[in-house]
Amino acid sequence: MSTTFNKRLLIVWLTLTAMTLAYVWIDHTADHNGTFTASTVVTVSAIVIALVKVRIIFREFMEVRHAPALLRRLTDAWVVLVGACLVGSYFIGSALAS
């Protein structure tokens, strides 16, 4: 059981690291000749990937998947709330700027 669980932790870490490395690819494809350009797709993708990583950390590293339903739902609601605030702020700010 212990070996299985530790393998699971390793897979979780590999997944989180792969998602972090995905940012390098996004960064590489987003810019042209080293010039940074504004992009809603990149911004929303970056936020969504970060939130998926946060949820994985909650569920696996912080052992929320073994927690009572209240904590599981609360942490999920928190991830959604943080996402709504971040993406909402970006779009509201963009609307105000234009």
């Binding site: 932790l9 504004a38 950390i57 590293f61 928190w78 970006y90």
Partner: protein
Amino acid sequence: MTNLAGAGPVPRQLEERPRRFVPGQPDMWVFVLFETLLFTGYFSVYLVSRTQNRELYLQSQSHLDLRIGVFNTIALLLSSWAIARCVQAAREGAYRSALTNAFLTISFGIVFLTSKVLEWIKQIHLGNTFTSNDFFQHYFFMTSIHCIHVLIGFLVLGVLVYQLWSPARRSQQLVETCATYWHTVDFLWVLIFALLYVVR
């Protein structure tokens, strides 16, 4: 006498544990969720501010090296993995392994902190300081507030090591509470990294 060798008996508190349990003390979870909301409020201000002066933010952001951010993130993810293994080992009574993983967590935390300080020095040499412009004000504020959390994390990990060292002081709930705090430091950085280095 200190007994670190091999697996110890599983504490009675764990045998009596229900199948579903809150990891660590519930108070720590209240703190985690509250702290996350505080940071989210600040992140929202940063994102709105970003949209009001895109060119300045994009131009300033180009001074940051994404590779350093990726390195920082992987170092903290490694520390989170190590503390998750520490919790698992302590639960099984393998306290020597738990201590090794606690020290690994501290080591990866130090790697993170060192690379962050080196990055600050690099930016200051490039002329980018707290007062340079809005982007760098946010950059230095967010990263330094986060580093204060890392420093508090070292105190928490110190308590963890102290508790694990002696059989008389071992408490699985305390191990999980310390781990919960450290994971929070990790996932806050995951968000900060995306917002400072990647968003456009």
